[in-house]
């Protein structure tokens, strides 16, 4: 069994309540930081730990924190991004649902490190029942003096609020999240200025993922070096992976960074192999927006080394032969899966979720979806495949926020690695039978 830093107590009965959480050593990190009274030391520990943002981009958290502007007399905010909407990712939901107090503890510790007196958790609208769980946990934390004025007699004040979104993927982008939190239309802002300088209500703001904030708790408890000792190279600590698809044991797994992908898929400790003894065809390793990889490239890098579950190893080979760890949404597909159909499903999602602010994404995502729909139903031509490639290249990197990239990468990688399958759809449409019931759903955005 690998070391666990977040989910070690997940099976303790009643861990979602304050009493049990406290008994298992909860809120120790808050006691520690309030005693030490040295916020900068916490930032240093986080830097030492090598913790990287768990939301998808993998930006070093300590560095992000040290970028926070600290002008006199201006409020600072910590915002937790719980708008987990990436298809294939459900780790934050699991964490918040099972041990809500871990997130709250992390929020208090992190807020103290950043000098924030008001913090927010922005949770997606679809997680409404999780909102209830969090609200109950926050109430318990207030009742026990971990939140509010003069926390445990330290003189530090912190108010924690949960804001629920209205169901838009785009609000997971940090600046769109801030707009939405301010009560406006959730459109990404044009950067610069970055949130670290002018974020929520124009004040310096740090936006972190749920898992990132939860990871601050073990870092403060055991020290940054102990955290950095877990994992390999620049991928330190543990990572929550949401495993789904054609595997025997789907679910959320906490892994030590550096577990080989092959072990993760086939060992009984994790996914337990492919369902019904089928063969592995492809894997989307980090949520729907990262490039899809065929079986041979996900198990071994192009150079022939075993692929590991780390930021570096999964990105080995760039986009030509690699992918990204992303948010850890690990989607496994067996040999029966249609890549074209899967890609259409992803494209339909991005078409539906594009905010419509900038032209390449607004128009391009819909166009790609329509072409894929056409190919899927046997009306495609070889020219359509080339056109898809051209469209994705004109979206990638040309948009305000990364949603454009997220929509373009799956298309690019599917064509790069599975072009033959697209050609099969074009050349032998009569061999395709499994798509009829999807016929009338393609205009979901207009519906």
């Amino acid at each position: 069994m690998g070391k666990k830093l977040l989910l070690q107590n997940i099976d303790v009965p009643g861990i979602n309540t304050y009493e049990v959480y406290r008994k298992t050593g909860g809120y120790k990190s808050v006691e520690k930081v309030l005693e030490q009274k040295n916020p900068d030391a916490i930032v240093e520990e986080v830097k030492k730990s090598g913790l990287r943002g768990r939301g998808g981009a993998g930006f070093p958290t300590g560095m992000k924190w040290s970028f926070l502007a600290k002008p006199e007399g201006v409020a600072r905010y910590l915002v937790c991004n719980a708008d987990e909407s990436e298809p294939g990712t459900f780790k934050d939901r699991y964490l918040m649902e099972k041990i809500p107090h871990l997130l709250i503890e992390g929020m208090i510790t992190s807020s103290y490190a950043l000098g924030a007196n008001t913090s927010f958790i922005y949770i997606r609208g679809e997680y409404f029942y999780v909102l209830r769980i969090l609200e109950k946990a926050i109430k318990e934390a207030y009742e026990n003096g971990w939140l509010g004025k003069n926390i445990k007699g330290s003189g530090y004040n912190l108010d924690l609020y949960v804001q629920v979104g209205a169901g838009a993927y785009i609000c997971g982008e940090e600046t769109a999240l801030l707009e939405s939190l301010e009560g406006k239309r959730g459109n990404p802002r044009i950067k610069p200025p970055f949130p670290a300088v002018a974020g929520l209500y124009g004040c310096p703001t740090v936006v972190n993922n749920v898992e990132t904030i939860a990871a601050v708790v073990p870092i403060v408890n055991d020290g940054g070096d102990a955290y950095a000792a877990v994992g390999v190279e620049r991928s330190t600590g543990t990572k929550l992976i949401s495993a789904s698809g054609h595997i025997n044991k789907p679910g959320v797994y906490e892994i030590e960074m550096g577990v080989p992908v092959e072990e993760f898929i086939y060992s009984d400790e994790y996914c337990g192999g492919i369902k019904n003894g089928k063969k592995l065809k492809a894997v989307v390793a980090g949520g729907s927006s990262v490039p899809i990889l065929p079986a041979d490239l996900i198990l071994k890098t192009a150079a022939g080394n075993p692929r590991l579950m780390t930021y570096e190893s999964l990105a080995d080979g760039g986009f030509a032969t690699g992918t990204m760890l992303g948010s850890g949404g690990f989607i496994v597909m067996d040999e029966t899966t249609s890549i074209v159909k899967n890609l259409w499903n992803f494209s339909r999602f991005y078409h539906h979720e594009s905010c419509g602010q900038c032209s390449p994404c607004r128009e391009g995502t819909g166009w790609m979806e329509k072409i894929l729909h056409k190919i899927l139903h046997g009306h495609g031509t070889i020219k359509d495949i080339d056109l898809l490639w051209d469209i994705q290249s004109k979206i990638e990197g040309k948009t305000i926020c990364p949603l454009g990239d997220a929509a373009a990468w799956p298309v690019a990688s599917a064509i790069r690695h599975f072009r033959k399958e697209f050609e099969e759809y074009v050349n032998n449409p009569e061999s395709i039978q499994d798509v009829k019931h999807y016929f009338n759903v393609h205009n979901v955005a207009e519906a």
């Binding site: 838009a168 785009i170 239309r185 044009i190 078409h351 539906h352 979720e353 594009s354 905010c355 419509g356 602010q357 900038c358 032209s359 390449p360 607004r362 128009e363 391009g364 995502t365 819909g366 166009w367 329509k370 056109l387 290249s393 004109k394 990197g397 040309k398 948009t399 305000i400 955005a445 207009e446």
Partner: protein
């Protein structure tokens, strides 16, 4: 001051200037086209992506190039920055892509559109667009709606530049105009149709780069290239009163603000001047207006045309060669 080099031309500009503004100071072909940026409207720009440029060198201190093309209208210059616009094939390609996206769902109904002839999208597609379309699906359409008595919104033609939203936010007093829905089907609208009643709402028509917002007092009266623009002014207690009158024969068909070479108005004008003063006796005529834009609108006014120096740089732009027509 910051020194910036755009397409191998170096200029010194005040700190805080955007790349687009610096390019406009140089003028001519180095100026990236801009469909959504509007100098007079705060926070405009960044949406249409036509003004993308490549930053080859970030600054003197940090010479690394920027990893992606940037929107020149929202990126401020740094000392020692090196920018490529027309001299970068990559940017030309990206821009052609953006133009294709903008035209994807545009109805291309120029023959019946009042904006034709002075339309920025028309100019942009002449200069950067491709012949024909690769989009073979049904285009999205919307119903026409009236916003206020004098303005019609034809959302089908809209490119979502957000300029009118900024006008509504920044010039008028109540926020009743904005964007609804999202993605491909997002649309400009008012909370309640016909709700815009405001002295400056007519400026939405002037800032609209396409034919989405049109003047109902002018709709279908004439084509812009048949009308003759004259500068005029009047004493107005609401605005500067400086306008352009568009004549056909003796009749004033419409009144607009005075626009510069980038289609931006000199002053925003009020609705009284725009909609209600349509008689020559209401105005003091200053003389013929100069139109210095490369657009269909100049075709019947070649005698008043662009200085020769500016014409000569046009062949750098792919697409239609304007020089020949002008010289013949």
């Amino acid at each position: 001051m910051a020194k910036v080099t755009i397409d191998d031309i170096t200029i010194e500009v005040p700190d805080g200037t955007t790349i687009l503004q610096a390019a406009r100071m140089i003028g001519g072909h180095v100026v990236p086209p801009a469909m959504c940026y509007y100098t007079k409207l705060k926070t405009s720009g960044g949406y249409c992506r036509t003004c993308l440029v490549k930053v080859e060198q970030g600054s003197e201190k940090d010479p690394r190039p920027m990893p992606k093309p940037v929107a020149s209208c929202r990126t401020t210059v740094m000392d020692g920055m090196v920018v490529r616009n027309t001299t970068s094939p990559e940017i030309q390609e990206a821009r052609a892509g953006v133009v294709e996206f903008l035209l994807l769902n545009h109805p291309l109904d120029c023959p019946i559109c009042d904006q034709a002839g002075e339309c920025h999208l028309q100019d942009l597609s002449y200069e950067h667009g491709k012949e024909g379309t690769r989009f073979e699906f049904e285009k999205r359409t919307f119903d026409k709606i009236d916003i206020g008595e004098k303005i019609q919104l034809h959302m089908t033609r809209c490119i979502l530049c957000y300029r009118c939203v900024k006008v509504a936010d920044q010039l008028t007093d109540e926020r009743v105009h904005g964007v609804m829905n999202r993605g491909e089907v997002s649309e400009i609208s008012t909370y309640i149709e016909k709700a815009i009643e405001n002295d400056f709402s007519g400026n939405m028509i002037d800032v609209c780069p396409v034919g989405a917002l049109t003047d109902k007092t002018f709709r279908f009266k004439s084509r812009v290239w048949y009308t003759k623009p004259m500068y005029a002014h009047r004493d107005c207690d609401k605005c500067s009163g400086k306008t352009t009158l568009w004549y056909q024969g003796e009749d004033v068909l419409r009144v607009t603000g005075r626009k510069d070479v980038y289609g931006e108005v000199e002053d925003f004008i009020c609705n009284t001047c725009r909609f209600d003063k349509k008689l020559t006796k209401d105005w003091v005529i200053e003389g013929p207006a100069e139109i210095d834009r490369h657009s269909v609108i100049i075709q019947n006014h070649t005698e008043k045309l662009i200085p020769k120096e500016q014409v000569q740089i046009l062949p750098n732009l792919p697409g239609v060669d304007f020089t020949k027509k002008i010289e013949s």
